[in-house]
């Protein structure tokens, strides 16, 4: 499995400036790639482009050599706002996409049961979405995405709307699940800590226009701890580099005025 993002730019119709500009990178089988950038730097746009929900203005995205033209179950997205369906219970939400894959009802149930167990929601299978806490919603959304066995899983700030404690818990769980499934994941986030916790590779976006500013290979040993010294010093280092970036943006805005 190889995903190529090849000199991709996106300017939304009616918009003066490009949301992302000339972004290129490659993701291979089993990699966990994190994209960081300040808010508004085009992270969601990038995810939507890879998902096929938007089309690039220039450049091309290919998955295993085939150009991405439309959304498909080989590139499932997990959104920040869970996007679970309120008219279905948790179990049917997890099973939703499997119906498109022409699986028998027995297979669907088996798969849904397995992934609900993986995210520790077995007891909540019959619950409606509104009866779940924020953390449980994201777990259910993760199970729904994993159940489809996509080639690549795209995550758009999946933990950004949760409280600190829940974030830590879910990060640990995702790390374990990733170790078990070896899924290829692209996760975008504004949190350096989150990126460092997961990533084999971090792609740092600059703001306005979002271009790839830096690519870092992270070889911190796993399982990672956000309190280890190596982690903390690396985090500090990245934050410093990011700050320069943010200051440049601020200066640019100032000069433009």
């Amino acid at each position: 499995m190889t995903l190529w993002v090849d000199r991709v730019s996106k300017t939304f119709p009616g918009s003066m400036k490009a949301s992302i500009c000339d972004v290129s990178f490659q993701v291979s089988e089993g990699e966990f790639v994190c994209v960081i950038g300040p808010s508004g730097s085009g992270k969601s746009t990038l995810i939507n482009l890879i998902a096929g929900l938007e089309t690039p203005s220039t450049g091309e995205i290919t998955l295993d050599g085939k150009p991405v033209r439309e959304p498909g179950a080989d590139r499932v997205v997990m959104f920040q706002e869970s996007a679970l369906f309120p008219w279905l219970n948790v179990f049917d939400n997890v099973r939703f996409g499997l119906k498109n894959q022409k699986k028998t009802p027995e297979e669907q149930e088996k798969i849904a049961t397995r992934f609900l167990k993986m995210v520790r929601l077995s007891e909540f299978a019959e619950y409606r979405v509104h009866q779940l806490s924020g953390g449980m919603k994201q777990r259910a959304a993760l199970a729904r995405a994993l159940a489809l066995d996509s080639k690549i899983l795209l995550m758009d700030e999946p933990f950004a709307s949760l409280d600190k404690q829940t974030i830590n818990l879910l990060r640990e769980e995702l790390a374990v699940i990733w170790k078990e499934t070896r899924k290829t994941i692209i996760l975008v986030t504004h949190s350096v800590e989150e990126a460092l916790f997961f990533a084999d590779r971090i792609i740092m976006l600059s703001a306005e226009p979002a271009t790839v500013r830096e690519v870092m290979n992270i070889d911190l040993p796993r399982p990672r701890s956000i309190e280890s010294e190596a982690f903390l010093s690396l985090r500090k280092d990245i934050l410093k580099r990011l700050r320069v970036e943010v200051e440049e943006v601020a200066k640019g805005e100032h000069d433009a005025r």
């Binding site: 998902a51 997205v77 996007a83 008219w87 894959q101």
Partner: protein, 266 residues
């Protein structure tokens, strides 16, 4: 809003209020008709007279036959109106051209009281059941189609996007995502359409003499029996309320509750 006493207390208070109203009404009637004789007794109903008429009309089969006939027309009209409203609503929701150009027209037509269609109905269908059903359909389908268009276009796009990335496409996007997501607003639209149908039915049935609730209401007028007119009005109110609250109200409540849109105590 302050949550006041229990249901029982609320019902009790309402009964008390209604009884007081009835007593005042009876008092005013007594004063105006019997003592001062400023009003003619055939022009002013009295609570006791209405009660008498109610017992009278409900004892025979006239009323039940009329209700049956009326509900039958209503059902036929409503079902057709739902079908046409659904088609028109879906078309306005899907086709930008229609939404931009047709919707303002439909919005205008919707404000037209259904009784304005009566001349049309008679010229096209004569004095027949079809004429009444025509008035029902034309009086409710525009509001239904607007509710459907609105319900569909206010579906949160995140659901459609999520479904697409899970490999859902084409017709399945509609049947498995858009329609279920729009369901609460669709039910509100149906409820509204139903009450428009009900009003149109009455307008239609008063066009000419045909068995039905509207007709026995007019019969009361012809007999100069104001108590009877009022009694039938009460029946019409009760049926209308029952259908509105029991059928659509319950349905709406249950679907809203299952999605967490209402709390239990509301």
């Amino acid at each position: 809003m302050p949550k006041e006493s229990t249901t029982r207390g609320r019902v009790l208070r309402m009964i008390l209020f209604l009884s007081a109203l009835l007593m005042i009404w009876q008092g005013v009637y007594f004063l105006g008709v019997e003592i001062l004789s400023v009003w003619k007794s055939y022009a002013v109903p009295s609570p006791l007279g209405v009660l008498n008429s109610l017992i009278e009309v409900t004892s025979g089969s006239v009323l039940s036959v009329a209700i049956f006939k009326s509900l039958q027309r209503l059902l036929v009209g409503f079902v057709i109106s739902m079908g046409l409203g659904l088609i028109l609503g879906l078309m306005m929701a899907r086709i930008d051209f229609l939404r931009q150009n047709m919707k303002p027209l439909v919005l205008g037509l919707q404000t037209l009281p259904s009784i304005c269609w009566v001349p049309f109905a008679i010229l096209w269908y004569g004095l027949s059941d079809s004429a009444i059903i025509f008035v029902i359909i034309i009086g409710s389908m525009f509001s239904i189609s607007l509710a459907i268009e609105n319900g569909i276009n206010t579906v949160d796009p995140i659901y459609v996007r999520a479904a697409k990335t899970m490999g859902t496409r084409g017709g399945a996007l509609w049947s498995r995502v858009v329609l279920p997501a729009a369901m609460p607003s669709l039910i509100v639209g149906m409820k509204q359409g139903w009450s428009f149908s009900w009003r149109s039915l009455m307008a239609g049935e008063m066009m000419f003499s045909s068995v039905g609730l509207g007709q026995i209401l007019m019969m009361g007028r012809d007999l100069a029996d104001i108590d009877r007119v009022m009694a039938i009005m009460v029946v019409i109110i009760v049926i209308g309320t029952l259908m509105d609250r029991m059928v659509f109200g319950t349905w709406e409540k249950s679907i809203r509750k299952s999605r967490g849109l209402d709390r239990d105590d509301q």
